[in-house]
């Protein structure tokens, strides 16, 4: 089955970390990207770069900033292939922000 991992974290959560820990975060993401079960995955540029689009009455409206104004923002995502939810949850738990105050939302993709 395929699952989306949506990675939420406070912007700059890694900045205050000691060098070794920041390096561990970098390695954690690299390991996920290199995992054969990872179909695609990437970090996103900061939430300030986000633009929300909606079409109302034929007019395209744009607003600056992320959709939800929360402390944690969507900072990256991955699409993974896992045998079942347990395997997906284990992979999610290895995403660095999960142990650094952030959260990883795991959702099966609809095409399964």
């Amino acid at each position: 089955m395929q699952y989306a991992l949506m990675i939420y974290a406070e912007p700059g959560y890694a900045d205050a970390l000691p060098d070794a820990e920041r390096e561990a975060v970098r390695e954690g993401f690299a390991a996920l990207a290199a995992d054969s079960r990872c179909v695609v995955g990437t970090a996103l540029l900061p939430a300030e770069t986000a633009t929300c689009v909606r079409v109302v009455g034929g007019r395209t409206l744009m607003t600056d900033g992320p959709f939800a104004d929360t402390k944690e923002v969507l900072g990256g995502f991955a699409l993974i292939e896992a045998a079942n939810l347990d395997e997906a949850l284990e992979l999610a738990a290895r995403v660095p922000p999960a142990r650094l105050g952030g959260v990883v939302e795991v959702r099966p993709v609809a095409a399964n």
Partner: protein, 388 residues
Amino acid sequence: MLEDVFRDEWGRVLASLVGYLGDFDEAEEAAQEAFAIAAQRWPVSGVPANPGAWLVTTARNRAIDRIRRQRTLAQKIHLLPVPEATVDEFDDTVIKDERLELIFTCCHPALPLDGQVALTLRALGGLETADIARAFLVSEETMKRRLSRAKVKIKATGIPFAVPDAHLLPDRLDAVLAVLYLIFNEGYSGRLDLGAEAIRLGQVLAALMPDEPEAHGLLALMMLHHARRRARFSGDDGADLVLLEDQDRSLWDHRQIAAGQAVLDRALALGGRGAYVVQAAIASLQTAERIDWSQVAELYRRLVDLTGSPVVELNRAVAIAQAGDPAAALAAVDRLDLDGYRYVHSTRGELLRRLGRHDEARAAYRRALELATSTPERRFLTRRLEEF
């Protein structure tokens, strides 16, 4: 009689069908069909030698028939074909016990807790949805939705029908034990059937995981508490709480106490030192004719180490007082940061009273009275205050 066989077999039959069909709803439908046929036939032809195998085989055959019918229908209307793999591979002589897989699926932490509880009672315990709804004081519709949401999530998210791998097992077993204890405690606050149901489920789990000390520990704990249930409440409406020292011990179920102690011995022999084993050991000590309160206090100390809970520390203080040292007990209570917890104040009041510090005792009881939430509690505390 037939009902007992049904209740005993339901979990095993359903587990086997979920494992075989890979779908909760289809499994439930097939099981229900098989049980309905049994209810018609068995009173006439007698209960078969192996009722479980009979039920599983019958249910599988019905499910296969249905799959065939659906496939024919699908072919007629040119829909996707149903895979054939499930049709020919079953062996009706050996029915594998897959209840452990079912337990871990029902108590998967990705499901909401109320869904875990409901599904465990329905799938494993064989309780009717209406009965579960009544026990949890919600409408049958609400309970149906709760069950259906849990089953949809299992299917849609790929929650595995499996016993977790060794490295996941400790956490996942904790989740299972927590669900059973939650069911038990629902029953303990007055609805007796759920207490008995939790014990039945605990017995199944302990039998399926004979080397897990905490599974035995939880079972022992539930049995030792359940054995005292008839002595715990009094009054016309049966709603007045009776404290341990005032309980009529002739109302205790001594056979269940002995059985619970045997289960506890097993847990201890397995090296069990976890929170459920320690609580069961405390409950066991409290069934003695003369309670060894210093040993109870020592076990509460271990439980504090395991849980870090200030409420457990309060219990430890009470045991210290019972062991004859109210001053040490008061010192322990005064170290607690639990000002909004009413039992801290009633306990302080009692300890200060025993130490002859009556003004302070009255103040503590008054604070407890301010925080009291129920009429029996208020009555009890008012009586205490009048005694000075």
